[in-house]
Symmetry: C2
DNA sequence: AGAATATGTTTGACGGTAGAACTTAAGAGC
DNA sequence: GCTCTTAAGTTCTACCGTCAAACATATTCT
């Protein structure tokens, strides 16, 4: 048995809780499985009897959390009834950014069921009007999938979120100290928000689990995403690290040079001053919108572009080297415009990190590019909703 | 129910596991309780029936994991039989440093039962001779408490430990790539080591739980300990963060200034180059052994001492500011010689961090001094052993 | 001494999983 | 086309742990 920490359960468990736990275990096993398993498969993997596996599966099927399908490839013996995560169970993920609102409905099976998007100026609209826009886009997405059973909604915002509900400060939105769960209220028939999260944290959550309940190739990584600013997240053991109050992951404000350029955050020489879109484009001598050009120009050998990429790699290596030394995670995933530049950066950054990271000799730092999209935070938010289902399907009965 | 992550149990649980879980829950509740609880107290707190609580308690008492004591203050009603963690259940904590070996036996109740120490030159002795010394000191401590039931041993070393057993590199010991669990073998009748850990990580573990199973005032903190080098640990939700391979917590090698003095680690401007004993003493113009003088001199207004403390506060603020922004933990605990200087540093460091930390406005960073001793890592190692007991007491039956 | 009060114990009921025998539905071989 | 083999799923009983409620016990308060 693994040693779990001192944060043990505050209350003991009876048989009811045992069944609930096992329902979750079975659902998780189905979600995790790359191929749809049968009841007998589950019994074998979870070391329970076929009788018990069948009992639990039947209950999940009755609740719509699992779907039964017939096998396609014939085999000897009685054919199995294969199990898939319920395709009608779905979560609503919302994203509010400065210039647009996105709503996405994702099924427990990992399929995108609906997408709605609207360009709006949330700065001009303010909190009240902005949340009206969020409600409207959410309703649009939900209306597109009347058959889905929505189990909840979560919202991604570009700012620091405390305790999973209060937006403390979103510089680009110019919103501050809003309890978004209370302010938004029930959303499109899914009840109040289950969670409010930072944009980058939720984008990272979408990378962790491409499919609900199935952790992808990187259970531990540092996510660094560049856009207007530089956001990030620390993912450890398949979990986004939120910190004491939810303010973790601000990799953009790791100090690269204490004598560096001043940052609006009040500090000096933050990574964001080197890696955000605007300083980067300026260093390369292009307009921010033309950033993809930098890659081409650098490859073509243009000096200013090459210098800009070099300095970016340097700044990233100083900041990430420090972070890797502290959190002991040796996979870095670049997102946003940093993903665009990743082909140019990767090798250089890895080499620099090898020199800066204490444990690089036996655990070399690997740099990867995320295939994230502008809608990733919304997907991550939807994934967060479905996480509740996978963690405790019994709550839906 | 709280949402646990996707790292769910690989196998479902039956009633046997249910009982085992509940045994752990009861023992944890007793350990956590500041006052010894009765069976009825436990039933109330854990929301189980008195019948079940009694059943579980009886089993733990029979196994020696709980002791019964009579209440001292009389109360109305039938007097309760109060429960304490078993005083004869004990863990052996070992510490191997460059110039000495320490062994400490700690009871489940948190009492120090035995201490043995020997000054030896582990660099000169090498791995084989050094481990002989460790075995000898361990035997000495164990012999002092014949009544104790030792449930295992753990070892703290001043270096990077991978996967809880292999010492990858200990600069001050000049040991490398040793599987210490295999190399040390069974220790003083307690069987092979349950765990090998980094010195600073284990010192932090001792701070987390002053008493086994009871998390102290800081469930989340950054530990920074200065001595020959600068070690550290990240503690999150009562757990020391080990990282992917066990190499986390190297706060000493966070970059303070990319143009700073070169560090033996191969990087430049690491925190260790500012905050370790030797550079600090040199900056203050004293011999390393006279460091406590620096505090007195700085208080007396001596310029070089004041400058040294100022620069230390600056370097710590740059490094810790970055770390706090990433891990979202707003308590810093200083150990080693940094604890000695804490009275001078505290306010200045807090003020500087307030300016550097993004979330400082709603979650101010607090700096504290640890009351750690040179033997703390050994205590932490012993605590680690007892953790296994608290996590799964059923394993001892 | 008796009432009040709270702890701890006993008893039977309930619920969930384990184990083993049984049923079902296919392919394989003749 | 029949039987044999294989494997999935189902049924039934046994076992075990917790729950609920009544009971016994040991003290203080009146």
């Amino acid at each position: 048995m693994s040693v779990s920490g001192p944060a043990g359960p505050r209350s003991a468990v009876g048989q009811a809780s045992l069944r609930r736990t096992n329902l979750a275990t079975v659902l998780q096993a189905v979600c995790r499985s790359p191929e749809p398993p049968s009841r007998a498969d589950l019994a074998g993997r979870l070391t329970i009897t076929r009788a018990t596996a069948a009992r639990l599966v039947d209950e999940l099927v009755a609740g719509g959390l699992l779907d039964e399908v017939d096998p396609v490839v014939p085999r000897r013996g009685r054919p199995a009834r294969l199990l898939l995560p319920g395709e009608r169970i779905a979560g609503l993920g919302l994203l509010a950014e400065a210039d647009r609102v996105v709503a996405r409905v994702t099924s427990l099976r990992g399929d995108l069921l609906a997408h709605a998007e609207r360009g709006v100026d949330l700065v001009a609209l303010g909190v009240s009007g902005g949340l009206d826009a969020v409600r409207a886009v959410a309703a649009e997405a939900v209306a597109a999938v009347p058959a889905a059973r929505l189990v909840g909604a979560a919202l991604a915002v570009p700012g620091v979120v405390a305790d999973g509900r209060t937006l403390v400060r979103a510089p680009n939105l110019d919103w501050s100290d809003v309890d978004l769960v209370a302010a938004l209220g029930p959303v499109a028939g899914t009840g109040p928000l289950l969670e409010v999260g930072n944009e980058a944290d939720l984008a990272a959550a979408a990378i962790v689990e491409q499919v609900p309940g199935r952790v992808g190739p990187w259970p531990d990584f540092l996510y660094v995403s560049g856009r207007r600013g530089v956001g990030g997240a620390v993912v450890s053991r398949g979990e986004v690290v939120l910190g004491e109050h939810g303010g973790a992951g601000e990799i953009g404000h790791v100090c690269v040079d204490p004598a560096g350029p001043p940052c609006p955050c009040g500090s000096q020489g933050c990574l964001e001053r080197y890696a955000a879109l605007e300083p980067l484009a300026r260093a390369a001598g292009v307009a921010p919108a033309d950033l993809p050009d930098v890659a081409a120009r650098a490859l073509a050998g243009e000096a200013s572009a090459r210098r800009a990429v070099d300095e970016l790699a340097w700044a990233l290596s100083v900041a990430l080297g420090s972070v890797v030394n502290v959190v002991g995670i040796s996979t870095v995933v670049l997102g946003g415009h940093l993903a665009t530049l990743a082909p140019l950066l990767r090798q250089d950054l890895q080499d620099r990190l090898a020199a800066r990271v204490l444990g690089a000799r036996w655990a070399p730092v690997e740099v990867h590019a995320a295939d994230d999209s502008p809608a990733s935070p919304a997907d991550g938010a939807a994934r967060r909703v479905l996480r509740h289902v996978v963690a405790d399907p019994g709550a839906l009965f």
